[in-house]
């Protein structure tokens, strides 16, 4: 069992509040990812869980045990650092056995555990080397191996892949996902790469400025962000945000007039909106189609197009100067500066009120979380 319960957790450095009251429940076997922009407090939160920083107020509970003030060594957690933090004066084998050694475990037992972990991570031939003589990816694997041998209650990762090149990062990402399944372990993973968050997580925690913005499955966050921050943070290219005004609110939905021209009737339900309110219309790049200029009331001018092979990213300039991105099929061809029309899929559109909160849209049965 390893359920982690965090209640009203706060942390300040001197007088600066970094973590501003976080409540979070992490269940056994879950792969939880903390994402958020740089400086939002992801690492700090992870270090609080690890016990490397002192809590200012609030509590952390592991299973039934309050670990808020327990020393890191006694928490039964393992952490993989962004810098790997291998012991430079020890061989790979010693690096991996250090914790077991300190715990006074029998030599033969240590040997067996290290060899097992080395097999899983394909570190066998490297066991007698020093970290200096390893590549980045190998060091990363040793760092992971070092935590595996301990069989901790929870694995903590702080941006473990950010020092690797793009190809290796994809490889290690798969390896981590596989490891999670094989070890059936609870993992908390910090990243600012939302692709890692989407691909690895059972549960994503979006942090911003020391607060939790939203907790949910990757697809839940993708399709039903609770606010404009989450909507903009999850997904690449970013969701387009178009400013507009509410024209009418009824049982059938909301009618909005976008500053860039078109009027749309949307199925969103709101009791708080009134005609005249400012509103933001959000649409993901894949939910818009680029058509000929005379086929849509939404008239635009195409900017640069990027051909990625499978997809084409069209950068688009709107009548009022706003920019947005559309994901078109790979064979989409267009000229720079060409006039065109846009057809958004209104069933996939998002609405945010002036404070950035989402106006909920009806959930189709298949998507309900």
């Amino acid at each position: 069992m390893s359920d982690l319960t965090i209640r009203n957790l706060k942390k300040s450095f001197e007088d600066i509040h970094i973590i501003k009251g976080i409540d979070l429940d992490i269940k056994d076997h879950e792969f939880v990812v903390f994402v958020g922009p740089s400086g939002c407090g992801k690492s700090t939160l992870l270090r609080l869980i690890a016990g490397l920083e002192e809590v200012t107020s609030g509590s952390i509970q592991l299973d039934e045990r309050d670990i808020t003030d327990v020393a890191p060594a006694k928490r039964d957690l393992a952490m993989v650092f962004q810098s790997y933090a291998l012991y430079p004066h020890m061989t790979v084998r010693k690096n991996m056995s250090f914790a077991l050694d300190l715990a006074g475990i029998d030599k033969a037992e240590i040997q067996r555990k290290v060899e097992d972990a080395a097999k899983v991570l394909e570190l066998g031939p490297l066991l007698e080397r020093k970290p200096k003589a390893l590549s980045g990816g190998q060091r990363q694997r040793v760092a992971i191996g070092r935590s595996i041998v301990r069989n901790p209650k929870i694995f903590l990762f702080d941006e473990p892949l950010s020092n690797l090149d793009a190809a290796l990062r994809v490889l290690m990402r798969l390896e981590l996902a596989r490891l999670h399944k094989e070890l059936n372990a609870t993992m908390i993973y910090v990243t600012h790469d939302q692709v890692e968050a989407m691909t690895l997580a059972d549960k994503v925690v979006v942090l911003n400025a020391g607060r939790v913005e939203q907790v949910g499955s990757p697809l839940e966050l993708y399709h039903h962000p609770v606010n404009q921050f989450v909507a903009g943070f999850i997904g690449t290219p970013k969701m387009a945000f178009l400013k507009g005004t509410v024209k009418a609110v009824s049982n059938a939905g909301v009618t909005v007039a976008l500053d860039c021209g078109p009027h749309y009737q949307l199925p969103h339900q709101s009791t708080s909106l009134k005609p005249g309110d400012d509103i933001t219309f959000g649409i993901r790049p894949e939910n818009i189609e680029v058509v000929a200029a005379d086929q849509s009331p939404f008239k635009v001018r195409l900017d640069v197009t990027e051909h990625l092979g499978a997809d084409t990213y069209c950068y688009i300039k709107l009548a009022n100067g706003e920019m947005m991105t559309v994901r078109a099929p790979g064979d989409f061809m267009a000229d720079y500066g060409q006039n065109a029309g846009l057809l958004p899929d209104l069933s996939q559109a998002h609405l945010f009120d002036a404070s950035g909160k989402t106006i909920p849209r009806p959930r189709p049965p298949a998507q309900a979380a």
Binding site: A73, L86, A103
Partner: protein
Amino acid sequence: MLTLKQGRQLQTVLLGTLAWLVALTIFFPIFWMILTSFKTEIDAFATPPQLFFTPTLENYLHIDARSDYFHFAWNSVVVSFGSTLLGMLLAVPAAYSMAFFETKRTKSTLLWMLSTKMLPPVGVLVPIYLIFKDFGLLDTKFGLVLIYTLINLPIMVWMVYTYFKEIPKDILEAARLDGATALQEIYRVLLPISKGGLASTVLLSLILSWNEAFWSLNLTASSAAPLTALVASYSSPEGLFWAKLSAVSTLACAPILIFGWLSQKQLVRGLSFGAVK
């Protein structure tokens, strides 16, 4: 016009020459001292100074007859190693806390410690003499160990701090999560990683203690007197005997010179305060 390559060669030659000049200037007195120690008192006084002469061992034989060199040498060894050991036992934990648990006051504490080195020692001679007298520390090796530890501690803490600062905090945190206590963290991770820097610090402390003269002259008489006191004893009572003084100085410097020569590499690292990585 010089080509880029020629320019670089010229620069190398000039720098090399300058380095040699400086080195020779620094080495010359030592060279002259060793040379003089093999002269007769007459040759030592000769004007113009003689570079070529018939070497003699009479000065060394004289010293051997007059004083117990090994008594003083042993005192020097005990006091240097003792104060270095004690100093390291204090400097390592101090530097550990300052490097890895920095607070607002850490920087000013370090500066303050170093500033004590700017105080002229003679300014505290009387109070320290009186304290030593009251505690029965005068002319004891333990007393010298204490005073050397105190005068070298700021520089030792500063050096060790500089080395510790180079070590990523993550590594110690990893050890902490691996279940290491603070002591295990220091002994099994921190010290092995920084052993190069620690060795330099030890060396510097040994050399500074070995060469220290002010306090040893003022706080010892005979039983705890180190080599520096032996040298001084040859300079005053019977007028100036340059050759004998040179011989005893050579004997006093020899152990530490040889020691320094053997550990050159560490020393360079130590004195450049970790700038050479």
